[in-house]
C-alpha cells in the first residue's frame, strides 16, 4: 500500500498523530509526505490512500491553490474508489466555497456544500453517531461550519452532539471510498473499531492495531460517557 499525506507540515490539532498511527498500524507500507511546493504523487500515480488533516485558514488558501489544477484528477480517483480521508477543516476545501466576513474563497467544489466561518466564534463540541454499525465518537473545534446545499452524501447520522452544523443531523461526507469528517481526537486513534475495519478494508486483510485492548478500553470509556443521558453533550 502507498499512502500519500498531503501537506503534513501544515497539520494542527493532533492530526499528525493520525499519520503516525497509520504508520504504526501498517509498518511495512510506504507513506509519501507531499510538501506544498511538490507536485502531488496522486497526479501521476494511483496511491491506495490519500490523507489530509487540520490546518490554519491561510494554509487552507495555499492548499486550495495547490490542488485546484488537479480537481479532475481527484474526481477520477474518487470514482475509481481510491481511499481518501480528510479530517477537521481539511473538509472545507472539498466544498464549493468558504464565506468569512463578507469574503468568499472558492474551494475545490468536489462536494456541494459551503462553509461559513466566524473567526471570533470558535465552535467546540463533541459528536456521537453510527457508521456501518460502529459507534463513532469525536471532538470538534473549528471556526467554520459546513452547510450542505444539494449534497446529501453523509458520513454518518449523529445521535448526540452536533452534525455539520447545529441544524444538520449528520456529520461529514462520504462518496465511494472518500470519507471526510470534521472530527478530531485524533479521529483514527479514538475510534479503534472504525480504524480497524477501515484499514483492513484498504489492506484487504485484517489489521491489528497497536495495543488494541488499551485502545478499545479508552474508546469504551468515552463511549459510555457520551451515551450517558446525564452527560450534556454540546
Amino acid at each position: 500500500m502507498t499512502a500519500e499525506i498531503l501537506f503534513s507540515d501544515y497539520f494542527l490539532f493532533g492530526d499528525m498523530a493520525n499519520v503516525e498511527y497509520m504508520k504504526k498500524c501498517l509498518p511495512d507500507r510506504e507513506f509519501i509526505l507531499t510538501d506544498i511546493h511538490d507536485k502531488p504523487y496522486f497526479t501521476e500515480h494511483e496511491p491506495d490512500l490519500i490523507y489530509m488533516g487540520a490546518m490554519s485558514e491561510s494554509n487552507q488558501v495555499r492548499v486550495i491553490e495547490a490542488l485546484t489544477p488537479y480537481v479532475d484528477r481527484l474526481n477520477e480517483l474518487i470514482d475509481k474508489g481510491v481511499h481518501m480521508l480528510f479530517t477537521a477543516n481539511a473538509c472545507d476545501i472539498l466544498g464549493t466555497s468558504i464565506f468569512d466576513s463578507g469574503e468568499k474563497t472558492e474551494c475545490l467544489g468536489l462536494f456541494d456544500f459551503h462553509v461559513v466561518r466566524k473567526m471570533l466564534k470558535r465552535f467546540n463540541g463533541m459528536t456521537l453517531g453510527t457508521y456501518n454499525g460502529i459507534d463513532i465518537v469525536g471532538y470538534k473545534s473549528q471556526f467554520g461550519l459546513a452547510f450542505p446545499d444539494s449534497c446529501d452524501e453523509k458520513f454518518f447520522d449523529v445521535t448526540r452532539g452536533v452534525g455539520l452544523n447545529p441544524d444538520c443531523p449528520w456529520e461529514g461526507f462520504h462518496r465511494k471510498n472518500l470519507i471526510a469528517t470534521y472530527l478530531i481526537g485524533p479521529f483514527l486513534i479514538i475510534n479503534p473499531l472504525f480504524t480497524k475495519q477501515w484499514l483492513s478494508e484498504i489492506e484487504g486483510k485484517p489489521v491489528v492495531l497497536p495495543f488494541e485492548d488499551a485502545a478499545v478500553k479508552a474508546y469504551q470509556a468515552r463511549l459510555r460517557d457520551f451515551k450517558d443521558p446525564d452527560r450534556k453533550i454540546i
Binding site: 494542527l12 499528525m16 470558535r122 471532538y139 485524533p186 495495543f211 479508552a218
Partner: protein
C-alpha cells in the same frame, strides 16, 4: 460618561462588599462594570506607566518578576496577579487602582494580558512597554493556532508601544513589524552543554508565516524556538538586542550581552523557559532605565512563584510540583523533558486531565498527541501515574510513546490515583498539575503523599 460613573460606583461598591465577605473581588466587579459600560477601560484612571506582558507561556512568572523588582525600588505597582488576565479581571484591577475620584493610586501598572483578550484591552490601554514571551500552540479549543493568536494581538497592538520580543521565536518576533517603531529583541544563545532537539512533535514555525514555504533552522532549541530563515522569502530571525551568552548553573549566574558589553546577573532558575523569562525582565528593566547593578540586585532577591512550582521533601524523596496549563502541549512537553533530564530515579504523576472542561460539557484529548510524552519513555522514569476520567486515553498515548505498560498506573480521579502512588525506589516524584487542580493538589494530594512518608516512619518538610 454617565454609564461610566454608574459602572464605576457599582464596581467600587461590589468590590467593597465582596471584600467584606472575605473574597478577593478580582473578577466580578470588573465584569459588572463592563456589563454596564462596555468601554469602561477607556474612562477609568490609569497609572502613568503601563507594562503589559502576554505570550503563551511564562507571562505570569515574568509579570511577577517585574512587579517584585519595581517594588524593591519603592515603585507603587498595580498588578492583576490575583485576578484574571481578561477584560473583567483587568477592569477589576483598575477599579482597585483608583480612588473614589477616579484618580490613580499607583505610579505603574504591570498587567498580564491574555492573548485572546487583546482586542478588548489595547483599544483602551496603550502600554508603554509590551512584552511577548513567546507564541506557541495553546488550547486548541480556545486559541486554535499561533497564526490566529498572532493576528489577534498584532491587529490591536498600539503603534506607540515599545515592544520587547523573543528574537528566538520566529512567530512572536514579527509582532509590530512595519508598525511599531521601537522593537527590541531578547534571545538565548546556544548554551554550553545544551542538547538541541529536533524531535518535537510540534513546530509551529515549520513553515514560513509569510509565504508558507519551509523554514530552515540553523539552531533549534525546541519546537520553533531558535534561529531560522525562510527557504523561499526574506523572513529571518531578528538580530538580538539582549542575548544570554552563558548560564553558569554551578555559580548561579547568567550573562547577558547588551549595549556592547556583557553583564552578569543571578540565575533565578535552571529551566530554559525561566532563563527566557529572566532575560525578558532584564530587557524591560534596562529599557525602563535601570542599570545592570540595580537589576542584578533586584534579581538576586527574586524567585519563581510557589503556586507554579514547589518542592517538598517526603522522607528521602523530593516531591516537585509544577503547574502546567492543561491543553497546552508545549508546557507539557517541556516538563516531560525536565522529568527526563532530572537526575536519579523518578516517578511522574500526571494531573492534566481536562476535568474542568468536562464540567463545562466539553472536552478534547487531541492535545495529548501534540505533547512530547515520548520524553517519559526513559529508563530513569520508573512509574507514571495518570489521573482523571480520560486516564485510559493517557495510558494509550503513553503506550504509543513507547512506555512499557507495567510502568503506567491509572486512576479515575486524583485521590484514587494518589492512593496507588509508591515512593519506593525513586529519588523524585514529579507532579504535573493543571492550573485548575491547584486546590486539590494543596489540600488533598500533598497531604496524602506526606502521609505515605509518615506511614513509613519518616519525616517530611516543605520548601517553596
Amino acid at each position: 460618561m454617565f454609564r461610566f460613573l454608574i459602572a464605576f460606583l457599582l464596581g467600587k461598591l461590589a468590590k467593597a462588599a465582596l471584600k467584606l465577605m472575605g473574597r478577593r473581588a478580582t473578577h466580578f466587579p470588573g465584569k459588572l462594570a463592563v456589563k454596564i459600560c462596555p468601554d469602561f477601560l477607556r474612562y477609568v484612571g490609569k497609572p502613568g506607566k503601563i507594562i503589559c506582558v502576554t505570550g503563551t507561556n511564562g507571562k505570569t512568572s515574568t509579570c511577577n518578576m517585574i512587579e517584585d523588582a519595581l517594588r524593591q525600588d519603592g515603585v507603587k505597582v498595580l498588578d492583576n496577579s490575583y485576578g484574571s488576565n481578561t477584560l473583567a479581571g483587568i477592569s477589576a484591577t483598575l477599579i482597585d487602582g483608583v480612588n473614589l475620584f477616579n484618580k490613580p493610586k499607583y505610579e505603574t501598572m504591570v498587567l498580564e494580558v491574555d492573548e485572546r483578550s487583546s482586542l478588548h484591552i489595547y483599544k483602551y490601554i496603550t502600554p508603554d512597554y509590551f512584552i511577548c514571551t513567546n507564541l506557541f500552540r495553546d488550547s486548541l479549543m480556545r486559541n486554535a493556532h499561533t497564526e490566529y493568536i498572532f493576528k489577534m494581538i498584532n491587529d490591536y497592538l498600539p503603534a506607540e508601544s515599545t515592544l520587547i520580543l523573543n528574537g528566538d521565536d520566529i512567530i512572536s518576533s514579527r509582532l509590530g513589524e512595519g508598525k511599531n517603531k521601537n522593537r527590541v529583541f531578547f534571545s538565548v544563545d546556544k548554551l554550553p552543554g545544551e542538547e538541541t532537539e529536533n524531535t518535537n512533535i510540534i513546530n509551529d514555525g515549520r513553515t514560513c508565516p509569510v509565504c508558507g514555504a519551509k523554514m530552515i533552522y540553523t539552531f533549534k532549541r525546541y519546537h520553533h524556538i531558535g534561529q531560522a530563515h525562510c527557504s523561499h522569502c526574506s523572513l529571518e530571525s531578528p538580530a538580538s538586542d539582549y542575548e544570554v551568552t552563558t548560564a553558569d548553573y554551578k555559580n548561579r549566574t547568567v550573562t547577558v550581552r547588551y549595549h556592547g558589553a556583557e553583564h552578569s546577573f543571578p540565575l533565578i532558575s535552571d529551566t530554559i523557559f525561566n532563563i527566557y523569562n529572566e532575560v525578558a525582565v532584564v530587557a524591560l528593566l534596562t529599557e525602563y532605565g535601570y542599570d545592570d547593578q540595580k537589576i542584578a540586585a533586584f534579581l538576586g532577591k527574586l524567585h519563581i512563584t510557589a503556586t507554579r512550582y514547589s518542592e517538598m521533601k517526603v522522607g528521602d524523596v523530593n516531591v516537585i510540583c509544577t503547574m502546567l496549563k492543561g491543553f497546552n502541549p508545549i508546557a507539557c512537553s517541556r516538563n516531560c523533558h525536565t522529568a527526563k533530564i532530572t537526575k536519579g530515579k523518578k516517578a511522574v504523576f500526571l494531573m492534566v486531565d481536562d476535568t474542568n472542561h468536562e464540567r463545562e460539557d466539553c472536552e478534547n484529548v487531541a492535545w495529548y498527541y501534540e505533547a512530547d510524552l515520548e520524553y517519559l519513555n526513559d529508563d530513569s522514569i520508573v512509574r507514571i501515574y495518570a489521573a482523571g476520567p480520560r486516564a485510559d486515553d493517557m495510558k494509550y498515548r503513553l503506550l504509543l510513546a513507547g512506555v512499557p505498560e507495567e510502568k503506567i498506573i491509572t486512576g479515575k480521579n486524583e485521590m484514587d490515583t494518589v492512593s496507588k502512588v509508591s515512593l519506593d525506589g525513586i529519588d523524585t516524584l514529579m507532579i504535573f498539575f493543571d492550573m485548575f487542580r491547584f486546590d486539590i493538589l494543596e489540600k488533598q494530594i500533598k497531604p496524602a503523599i506526606a502521609k505515605k512518608s509518615a506511614a513509613a516512619g519518616q519525616n517530611g518538610g516543605e520548601t517553596a
